[in-house]
Symmetry: C2
Subunit: 527 residues, 2 copies
């Protein structure tokens, strides 16, 4: 078994190097279907093991399981970074955060995101998916969480989306509007209220109707597009499964799993309602729907967090629990129903794939990290390609075939761990789930994820298998680094004056707050 894998591994090496270089030049000219609608459903902190179809013991997601039965499961689907903002930036740019700037260089290998005091956001030099799709006549809406920067120039409508209902940041709070403002909710270019004020979340009961709002805005958009007939891109990004986890009253207490499960059940039902609407409008066979999540379940949230199934650790880490995502593709009469596709795939592939199905030529001059998944979706082929696991400015690990090589290991610092922040509760793999940032670049820790999906049994460094595979892995690393021009790090600077004090539209609502004096400083990223 070993020798056949490693020999095919080696023989494919040259072709991969070639296909990676040329993949973005493939055009979709020869497609003969009308432009399909594209819906990307991106969950927040939902883990690989949270759906029935992915083995959650509660098996409470009948709509998603049905979507899988009618569509295709990707069990090897990855995010680009085990934290929200970089993952979302990667999805919408088709590029690793190290390229698009959604990382920090304040410290080594730290996850960074866009908290309320972040100064910067998505760069104008990045061309986002909705802007690309617009060339092909697509109308685009984002519903839910943005998280690519909340100051005016970074908002969705400045980056190609035509419509937005949702919020620029996480729904943390309630804040006092004195040292910290509550997060605004936008409809279009203007705020329409704030979380915990016009958009209540009951921190005690977990009640909030936000998922219902996100569902209604999505349905209403689909209805309108069905009338106009122009193709649409809907980026549906509800955040109910991110702490503080919430659900509507009708769902509270309905899950076996507590409030987290209530949130999952509501999202599951919303997914069912969206697919049903596509069906009832006759759009189903002309709509590609992709369901996934931004990063692994937040195990540090213990009973309020999700499940990463049999995988190691969770959110914030580059173990499988932090990076591997539930993924279902649905496109009736195109994607064969009830299929499993083992293609290694990433959120960045959704960028390239969306362009391909829309018949848009990807930008030639911009290095993309996503590949076109349509051969996989249409069951006509798969690609051999490496997947890179980043944490901030460091390439922590890579996967090729079934092998994963850890170049660096780290969970979090002992200091943070002793505060009670545990990314791997009740799990420990000696020398692997380290509390020091440990450099293995010379002798990577190698796992075979087919035999050992839980990353428990490192392959012996003296074995023939190890030597062969690691040699190739090091070549991939070298090629990747050689071709990499890191973007300017955008997540280095924080300032209380940058918070959501007076978003556009606040005047009309009488909700403008006083902007404090600037106190620009390097953001502190503990993980």
């Amino acid at each position: 078994m070993m020798s056949s894998i490693t020999s095919s591994f080696r023989s494919r090496f040259v072709s991969i190097a070639l296909t990676l270089a040329f993949s973005v030049a493939v055009t979709a000219n020869n497609r003969n279907t009308s432009k399909p609608n594209i819906i990307i459903m991106l969950m927040d902190d939902m883990g690989w093991g949270d759906l029935g179809a992915f083995g959650n013991p509660a098996m409470e997601t009948p709509n998603l399981d049905h979507m899988a039965a009618e569509g295709m499961i990707f069990p090897n689907f990855y995010t680009a970074n085990p934290l929200c903002s970089p993952s979302r930036a990667a999805l919408l740019t088709g590029r690793l955060p190290i390229r698009n700037g959604f990382y920090t260089s304040n410290a080594h290998a730290r996850n960074a995101y866009t908290p309320q005091n972040i100064v910067e956001g998505i760069s104008n030099t990045e061309i986002l998916l909705p802007k690309m799709l617009h060339k092909a006549g697509y109308v685009s809406k984002i519903v839910g969480k943005w998280h690519l920067g909340h100051r005016a120039s970074f908002l969705p409508l400045k980056h190609g989306f035509h419509e937005w209902f949702g919020s620029p940041n996480c729904h943390f709070g309630p804040f006092n509007n004195v040292d910290t403002p509550n997060i605004p909710v936008y409809d279009g270019a203007q705020m329409v209220g704030r979380y915990y004020e016009e958009f209540p979340i009951d921190r005690k009961t977990g009640e909030s109707n936000l998922t219902q709002l996100y569902l209604q805005h999505a349905l209403e958009f689909i209805n309108r597009q069905a009338v106009t007939g122009s193709p649409f891109f809907l980026y549906w990004a509800p955040d109910a499964t991110h702490t503080p986890v919430y659900a509507s009253r009708a769902f509270l207490g309905t899950s076996q799993r507590g409030i987290y499960g209530d949130a999952v059940r509501e999202l599951d039902q919303a997914v069912g309602a969206l697919l049903q609407r596509l069906r009832s409008l006759g759009l189903h066979s002309n709509s590609l729907v992709f369901f996934t999540s931004d990063n692994g379940a937040a195990l540090s949230a213990s009973l309020k967090g999700g499940s990463n199934g049999p995988f190691l650790c969770g959110k914030e880490t580059t173990f499988e629990g932090g990076m591997r995502e539930p993924a279902i593709a649905w496109w009736p009469s195109h994607i064969p129903p009830g299929t499993v596709n083992h293609q290694l795939a990433t959120v960045m592939d959704l960028f390239t794939t969306s362009l391909m199905v829309a018949g848009v030529t990807p930008p030639i001059s911009t290095p993309l990290d996503g590949i076109d998944l349509t051969p996989a979706l249409l069951h006509k082929g798969t690609w051999d390609r490496p997947v890179f696991y980043y944490r901030g400015n460091e390439l922590m690990a890579l996967r090729y075939g079934h092998y994963k090589a850890h170049l660096w290991t780290w969970t979090n610092s002992l200091q943070e761990f002793h505060k009670g922040i545990d990314f791997c509760p009740s799990q420990e793999v000696r020398g692997v789930t380290t509390h020091n940032q440990t450099d293995h670049t010379q002798d990577p820790i190698l796992f075979h994820l087919g035999r050992d999906p839980g990353e428990k049994y490192p392959i012996r460094q003296t074995s023939k298998e190890y030597i062969q595979v690691v040699t190739d892995m090091k070549m991939f690393v070298m090629l990747h680094k050689r071709g990499l021009r890191p973007g300017q790090p955008l997540l280095n600077w924080c300032d209380d004056a940058a918070m959501n004090w007076a978003p556009a539209g606040c005047e009309k609502l009488g909700k403008c707050l006083k902007v404090p004096k600037s106190n620009l400083q390097e953001c502190f990223w503990p993980h």
Copy 2:
């Protein structure tokens, strides 16, 4: 949420106490279907997380997943003991091992089984499922592993089965036939060879065609019964996923998971072939097929063992990983397709359920631990009932609703652990995965398996939830113990003279070996 669960928990208490007492007196007189065939497919050491439909990342079990899509998944299905022989004895008697004698009293809370030097086996006072079904005209065959005792009086044909192809013990070996004989393989009442001799298993490559033999014998039996028209009971118990794990040449190297996955793939394909045969013979809507496993995956086998998904520990332990089993019921046009049923169920229920569908009145005078699952199978109702987790002579834990109370915790002794035998690799829940047998009977460790399927977060003993639930749990324990008359322990005595030296039929084959002098001694059970 908590109060609603605990109040319904309390209110149902009286009715359960009543239904448990009376359940065995319910007859199946009012059934109006013809007697369905019954097939129980019992895997060996296969874990809850080994099938695609139960979230195995390899998702390599298309036939079983299809069976689930056409049938019903039971995510809360349990064995009676986390080891093979007691589990199998429980299935075939409908009774806990503590009642049917498949336990040891040599030491406290030790798993015992029927190794080759075991002296005793299943008692004549136990009435096994095939014997009961015979009253309704069923013809019964066991294909595969028996494991209820290998001396002449304990064999399947002495306990109600009409046919047998398979072996009385595990396929350990090869032995030297001097101090230990190789295990015999029987066809009917006589041996037809021995493992590693006429029935080869290549310990180096893992190659063996035994699963194919077990498949052929099952297909041939089904074919014959289709002709005679009498209802049949097929107990299909292949053992390819028990160490030493094996697969046929055609399957070797075909799985992402290594040899264990090869074995799973071969079993999956065999299940597909069996269901297909039922279909092609027109028997499908008159055949109830139930697929499950005897205990959790053997995590101590590391890469040669299976997966228990998100559950804690594995085989030998009474954590969920040791006791919860994959379970699929299939009965086209009776069982609604693609359903999930959260009924708490056990292998012992297969006894009672089989009698019910066959229209056989369960024995009134024998206390049974299994309930009739037909209301669950036909989607007409579920039962509230406790599930008991035994290890040898000790009630280690019980589950009721979503709650599980550990009365005792133990993984294995530090001495065994330091030998490298680890039932919970890379998992540790402090105070829970103990290496001392720890008595919690006064203050059980309580988990809510809905919120916390991984048994990581004990419920605080001072909480209202804990106090209410534990009070009820203690009542269940008291009632259970009050109604329990332990059987004579059958797994106490070992003797080299009891080994398979000269099984029936050995003369014809020239394979009788010399029986050594008796050296009767208490068996040693380290776990």
